[in-house]
């Protein structure tokens, strides 16, 4: 078990810098997720921690000691790859015990450890099979088992679930969370799927173009996104954004003129704002309510029924699109003209450079 610390870590491929100086302290026992769109540098960051990629500049510390010049084999970390990367010529048991064989463990010890891990992952009947005889979910289990047998200081997982179908992904998410609780080992998990990060991680690092956009717990990121990017990336359905202009500023509130002509009054942020300033208003689907007297008027384009709730996809008068959450038994139909009320205390404001504007007082969690 270990802490992993990054100090001003940079990575260049040729003349192209892909990681622009990242500082991060990953605590012992923590489940941390690196999340971001493809090409944001999350896998590169993980590979630098693993030692599979050289650090161009900065330091990687594992348990407090510099590791950037330590070969991957000596870092005491285990990795689970997206493509599983099992050894095709070895049986499941041989795959799992390979690291022990390299470290000179006796046959009896190897067998005992492999059995113990196989029992936890419920794959004892598979031990004598070759990877080519296994299904995707089974391969994934073997890959995780191979990492577990090493009893590493930390697990590194590079999009381990993205080759599985949706049902299996859900099951494996629960299983990984359970494993983390049982093993209590540091886990660093890379994914492009914010849902995986939200459901499993203690903390999430949102990466964008080689920079950390925000670091925080899943709820912090959801309720208080620091930037426009994070607001759009975390949460499904995506947050609605509306272009707005500051109409007037009072002591307590801010009146915004929306592009379609409607106006909305929201609590005033800490930052100074002048009349006429262009900002963006962010509203999550669950903070929009269907109300005949609502501020935002438009037409329903599509409805998604999910059972307990439904999502209304609407197009406003000015052409902007938004998604609102409503009850599962809603009578609304595509083509209906509707109006939405904005729960103004739950809105988010972003300035022209994409930074979130903050509200006074303690940031109380929103329902």
């Amino acid at each position: 078990m270990a802490t992993v610390e990054l100090r001003n870590v940079r990575k260049q491929f040729g003349n192209h810098e892909v990681i622009h100086g990242i500082d991060l302290l990953i605590q012992d026992h923590e489940f941390i997720a690196f999340v971001g769109p493809s090409g944001c540098g999350k896998s590169t960051l993980l590979r630098m921690i693993a030692g599979l990629e050289q650090v161009t500049d900065g330091e990687v510390l594992i348990d407090g000691s510099p590791a950037q010049d330590v070969p991957p084999a000596k870092r005491g970390l285990a990795m689970v790859f997206q493509s599983y990367a099992l050894y095709p010529h070895m049986t499941v048991a041989e795959n799992m015990s390979f690291s022990l064989r390299l470290s000179g463990a006796s046959k009896a010890e190897r067998e005992q450890k492999v059995r113990a891990v196989a029992r936890i992952l419920e794959m004892e009947p598979l031990l004598e099979r070759k990877p080519s005889q296994l299904s995707g979910g089974q391969l994934q289990r073997v890959a995780i088992g191979r990492a577990m047998v090493r009893q590493p200081k930390a697990f590194l997982m590079d999009e381990p679930l993205s080759n599985l179908d949706a049902a299996l992904q859900g099951q494996m998410r629960l299983e990984l969370a359970r494993l983390h609780r049982e093993l209590n080992t540091t886990m660093i998990y890379v994914t492009h799927d914010q849902l995986e990060a939200m459901t499993m991680a203690d903390r999430i690092v949102v990466l964008n173009e080689g920079n950390v956009e925000q670091l925080g717990s899943p709820l912090e990121l959801y309720q208080h996104p620091a930037t426009f990017f994070v607001a759009g990336f975390i949460g499904a359905p995506k947050m609605n954004f509306l272009d707005a202009e500051v109409k007037s500023v009072s002591e307590q509130s801010l009146t915004l003129a929306l592009a379609g002509g409607a106006s909305v009054v929201v609590p005033r942020p800490l930052q100074e704002l002048k009349g006429g300033e262009k900002i963006r208003l962010g509203v999550r689907a669950e903070h929009l309510a269907l109300e005949p007297e609502g501020d935002l008027r438009g037409e329903i384009e599509a409805l998604e029924h999910l059972g307990p709730r439904a999502y209304i996809h609407a197009r406003l008068a000015d052409g902007a699109r938004l998604v609102a959450q409503t009850d599962g038994d809603t009578q609304a139909r595509p083509g209906d003209r509707v109006a939405f009320r904005v729960r103004s205390e739950a809105t988010h404001l972003f300035n022209a450079s994409g930074k979130a504007l903050t509200r006074p007082g303690p940031q109380t969690p929103l329902s």
Binding site: A85, F98, L102
Partner: protein
């Protein structure tokens, strides 16, 4: 449907014609080895004749076949092993740690095969003389392995490239050093490819004649020298030459026939993975 069947028949006939065309000289040589000298040169050629073993008897009496055969085995196996020992690390580094110049190096290696061997005969001969390698099995192993090296490196390089780098990374994460990664992961994964490369190298070294004729005389002479010694100053004795040639190619022919499955499997290694 009919057209497809016709094309298939056409193809089958063409393939058989080419195969027979390639095999015919070997068949003719084989037949001639059982003819008398007069029958062997008869015009028009005789297809039906009384077979005789006298040529084999004469050939084996005149030369120590087993000594030549032993050298051939030693040289082709030795050169192949040496070439593999040099080529495996080379191909590994080029396949998994390529630099901007890797392609150039590969092409340069291949370009050495475009130089006629006779172009370097004099320098090689002088070197081998000064190093005391003339007419030694080791000297011949050395030059043969150098001459098959480009092909061996190229073949291994293309087989290694088929192995996903992530599997090697996984072994590195499992604690493998570079040598262990090579021995426990890469080589076992590429066994069919390496076997095919070795087989081809053995065949090429077995048939190599230029260097064995020029750098050896008696002690290290191989079956190619044995064959050549029958196209002699006494005039051409076709039947005896045929018998000597048959004896020379028989081992490698049997070996090739036995290993053809492995060879095909290896050569289509990437395609069927």
């Amino acid at each position: 449907m009919r057209r497809i069947r016709q094309t298939r028949w056409g193809l089958a006939v063409a393939v058989w014609a080419i195969a027979l065309g390639m095999f015919f000289p070997i068949l003719w040589m084989f037949l001639c080895s059982f003819k008398t000298e007069i029958a062997a040169v008869a015009v028009p050629p005789k297809l039906f004749f009384r077979p005789t073993l006298e040529n084999y008897y004469a050939v084996l009496q005149r030369a120590d076949y087993l000594a030549f055969a032993r050298n051939s085995v030693l040289v082709s196996l030795g050169s192949t092993l040496l070439a593999l020992a040099l080529a495996i690390p080379a191909a590994y580094s080029m396949a998994f740690f390529p630099t901007r110049r890797t392609r150039d190096i590969l092409l340069w290696m291949l370009s050495t095969k475009m130089l006629p061997a006779v172009g370097v005969l004099v320098p090689i001969y002088l070197l081998w003389r000064d190093l005391g390698l003339l007419d030694t099995v080791f000297g011949l192993i050395l030059i043969d392995s150098i001459s098959v090296l480009p092909i061996v490196v190229w073949m291994l390089f293309s087989f290694f490239r088929e192995v996903p780098a992530v599997i090697l990374e996984a072994s590195r994460m499992d604690g493998a050093t570079q040598t262990e990664e090579l021995l426990h992961v890469l080589l076992p994964l590429c066994t069919p490819g390496i076997a095919a490369t070795a087989l081809l190298s053995i065949i090429l070294c077995w048939n190599e004649a230029f260097w064995s004729l020029n750098l050896t005389t008696v002690k290290a002479a191989t079956l190619t020298n044995f064959t050549a010694s029958f196209s002699s100053p006494e005039g051409l004795f076709w039947a005896k030459l045929s018998a000597a040639s048959t004896l020379s190619i028989a081992p490698i022919l049997i070996f090739g026939w036995m290993s053809q499955r492995q060879m095909v499997r290896g050569l289509s290694f990437g395609a069927v993975k």
